[in-house]
Amino acid sequence: MNEHDRPRILVVDDQADMAAVIADALVDQGYVAFAAHSGTEAVDVLKKKRVDAVVTDLTMPTMDGLDVLRASQQLDPSRPVILMTGLGTIDSALQAFEVGAYQYLLKPFRMDALTSVLRNALARG
């Protein structure tokens, strides 16, 4: 599979370490991964590059996961968006579901849980 055929995933987390570990894991699994460290940066990437799915943290300063979700839906309503959330903000994640999120993952999660969700999401599209 050449790089152009591989699914392209945008990972958004204001914690650079978290974004990096997920991006690394996705690359290991054969995806093309981009890391963004803020909502604004994520929207920039979405506008400039082809992205097949978005994995974003929910709680971020200024522009949070829900804002990224909305921006992604505005640009491409069929693109799946997966939210990552800590225990304290499960409700916000549920709320995000209603906005149109594909799935949410409770931090910390195993990478195979993420790749399994991603596979389903991309197969849907």
Partner: protein, 441 residues
């Protein structure tokens, strides 16, 4: 009480009157007996005179013999001679009384004389009782004897008895009123104390409830913060350990170490989850909430504190506000924290206002007070944990930090600053409207 007094007095008065009437009747019958007995004496005198051949017996001669019985001012003995219109008294006076004469003519044995009639006879001008007796002395004609006694003593005694009676009733009633009043006052005071105690109990219970919810909110907010802060580093640890395990395939020891890291990360995750469940007393729950109801419930929880502090609380919510998606208990607690801060900033007689407003995007809860106000520096630091301007021991410095944290977890914003409408402070909570954030209706 007054009715009972009237009944008792009337009964006793009636009894006294009956006794007095009976005493007067006795006096009257005594006069009748006296007159009859004197008439026997008179008959003897007249018989002696007739036997002696006298035909000119004068009433004055006969009266003289009865003089020792009469008592001046009390008892009068009168003799009536035949053909005479008047009466002869034992003290020699010749008296006229039409009433006595009429009674004599009619043959009445007893008679009651009024004060005026008694006065005509030289007795005290009080009721008097008369007894009449007739003596038929054959040749010497038809004579009469009258005993008239003044009832002044009986009347005085009756008057004194009635006064004693009234005095007794008044005195007894006074004592009953005095002791009854004291007992009633004591009972009323007891009831008042009981009521105050009940009110204090209710206030204490509500305070305890408020403190309990504050503890829950504090713990819940901290737990939420910890869960959020811990989840990302744990995620990094789990991710890197997994990658390590994948890359160390074949190296059993490294694989085992990576698995240990993953197992320990799981353990931390469980601990945080348990802490969160315990602190929140159950899983957090977002629900659609009417902002007006939330405001009224918050105001209801603190109204006793306002009453105690003498601060007036006004709630102003327009009808039909759009609902918001929130944890009712937590957001309500944020509003309660702002209200209590406002209340504590006010002097007695101060005013606090809680209003709710909405526009297309958000619902705003505004708490304003006309209290001490807030400096720009304090306003900037107000949401920091442990920052307080209250005296030591009064504030924990956590109320606003928790309120801010709660509002933040609802994707809202808490702003503290001087009241733009005048003196005092304004606290503003802004929460996105449920529909606007896309939540299903």
């Amino acid at each position: 009480m007054l009715g009972a007094m009237v009944v008792v007095t009337t009964l006793a008065w009636w009894d006294e009157q009956r006794e007095a009437d009976a005493a007067l009747a006795d006096l009257q019958s005594e006069q009748s007996v006296l007159a009859t007995s004197l008439s026997e004496d008179l008959r003897e005198h007249l018989t002696e005179a007739a036997d002696a051949g006298r035909t000119d017996v004068a009433a004055a001669d006969l009266v003289d013999t009865e003089h020792r019985i009469a008592r001046t001012g009390e008892l009068l003995i009168l003799v009536k001679a035949p053909g005479d219109d008047g009466f002869h008294a034992t003290d020699g006076r010749a008296l006229r009384s039409s009433t006595l004469l009429a009674a004599f003519t009619q043959g009445t044995p007893t008679l009651r004389l009024t004060g005026a009639e008694a006065a005509e006879l030289g007795l005290p001008a009080r009721t008097s009782m008369a007894g009449l007796a007739h003596v038929d002395a054959a040749k010497l004609g038809h004579w009469g004897v009258v005993a008239v006694a003044s009832a002044a003593r009986e009347r005085d005694r009756e008057k004194r008895a009635k006064w004693r009676l009234v005095l007794g009733v008044v005195l007894a009633s006074g004592l009953v009123l005095l002791f009854g009043g004291a007992a009633l006052r004591r009972q009323r005071k007891g009831l008042e104390l009981q009521r105050e105690l009940a009110v204090a109990n209710v206030q204490r219970e509500r305070d305890e409830e408020l403190q309990r919810t504050e503890r829950v909110a504090t713990m819940g907010t901290f737990a939420m913060g910890i869960a959020h802060e811990v989840s990302t580093p744990l995620g990094v640890i789990v991710g890197r350990a997994e990658q390590l395990a994948t890359r160390a395939q074949g190296d059993e020891r490294t694989t085992r170490n990576a698995q240990t890291i993953l197992a320990q990360a799981d353990r931390i995750q469980h601990i945080v989850r348990r802490f969160l469940d315990m602190a929140r007393g159950g899983p957090p729950s977002l629900e659609r909430v009417d902002p007006g109801q939330l405001v009224r419930e918050a105001a209801g929880s603190v109204e006793h504190r306002f009453a105690k502090a003498g601060v007036k609380l006004r709630v102003d919510v327009p009808p039909n506000m759009p609902s918001i998606h929130c944890d009712r208990d937590l957001l309500g607690h944020a509003a309660i924290n702002l209200l209590l801060n406002a209340c504590e900033a006010c002097q007695p007689g101060g005013h606090v206002e809680l209003t709710a407003r909405s526009d297309a995007e958000r619902v705003a809860f505004v708490v304003t007070d006309d209290g001490a106000g807030i400096s720009t520096e304090a306003a900037a630091r107000a949401k920091e944990p442990f920052f307080t301007t209250k005296p030591e021991g009064v504030g924990t410095g956590l109320g606003l930090a928790i309120a801010a944290e709660i509002v933040k977890s609802h994707r809202g914003e808490l702003t503290i600053g001087p009241n733009p409408g005048g003196k005092g402070t304004r606290a503003l909570i802004e929460i996105p409207i449920a529909g606007n954030s896309g939540a299903a209706a």
